[in-house]
Amino acid sequence: METTHAPAEDFRRALIAADPRLSKFNPLPRILAFDEFNTGTHGWTELIGNHDGYGNLDTVDKHMRDFRPPQLSACDFFDIGTHGAMSGTYALKVATRPVTGHTGVAIRRLTMAQRGVIQFETYFTYKSEAATAESSLGNTFGDVAWDGNLHPSEAQFGAFTIATDLCDGDGIRYHCVMRYQNTDLDNKLTRRWVYPVVPEPTPKENLHNQDNLSPVEDFTAPNPEDWQPLDQEPQYLCYNEVPTKVNWHYLRWQFDTRTRTNIELQVNDRVMDLRDVPVPQYADKYEGLENLLNFYVSVRTHSPVRNFLFLDSALISVDW
């Protein structure tokens, strides 16, 4: 998005630059939410599928009933104790079970007062759970063999996803979604940004399909072939060798709810043009989701090892 540099804009930027908490972000003119997880979860909560009119949780889609409650984590590890976060002691941690294909999801629910450019920024990191003598899968996993520097833990991390659930006043519902695929389903390092080409299946679509659902279904887009790579360029992030070192990464993602399109994704020193990334819409119009503006982050393990996505802080801003 082009920014203007009128005096008021220069003054706004100077104020942001002078604020140690905000100056690590690049917000659009209006800040909707500024979530430092050192001060609580700020409305990020577990996603769950829908239940029936009796409050019977057995009616929740079987692949959407165990996305795990997010945790306020001090980033504690067995080797060094408390690592701590970037802005304080605590980060938001989304964790999977140690079950291949399991997904953890945290969601934040808002609505749109207007349509326009929306930006999600966060400082994040991702880790696999440290091994014990009992839980270890050995010194080699996927492509990675421990050599003193490289650590098999890195190949035990599957993917993390940043995503939205959007529905405007016209009843058109769609998702902007980007996923960092660290490994493929064979645990080989791919380190690609991918996106889905189908909309997420809804509870209504799955209402009479429960017998065909797996608890570890990829709920965002179940068929692996429906995930397309943004390009063939891997992005190397700072896993930092072992599962107990936490290095925070900057992520900035923009999309436009006026045009229902992606704009761009920045992750540290790489800026990706997303304007050609399709945003699938549902065929039918929706009622009851007017101006829905949901953000979710998810983490998906491709190994029988717990995977974690940590957010130090997040900032949601708009051009309204």
Binding site: P69, A74, T82, R97
Partner: protein
Amino acid sequence: MKQSMTAVLERNTTFTADFTTEPYEVAWAREARWFVRTLELDGEAPSLHLTTQISPDGLHWCDDGAPEQVSGEPSLLSWPVREFGHWLRLRATLRGGDPKAKVLIYLALKS
């Protein structure tokens, strides 16, 4: 204002064998309370025995020393936990003949 959070660690899950809940980080909390809803308990004289466990690292666990709680019928059980360090989980054992328990497990936390 103090912080608070309720986490649902198991949701209508049916167990037929002993289990532990997933590790949960609670370093920020001063007090904690378990709520265990036993929705169904089947088998021959079945009972569900629940013990709080603590951990220095989320990997290695020991009992916290408090008496175990026992559910012998569909019910809501609750008990407090204090001075628990940075991690909490529940260790559950099922007793009786072919026991089967369906549970909801909540962990309510306050700073």
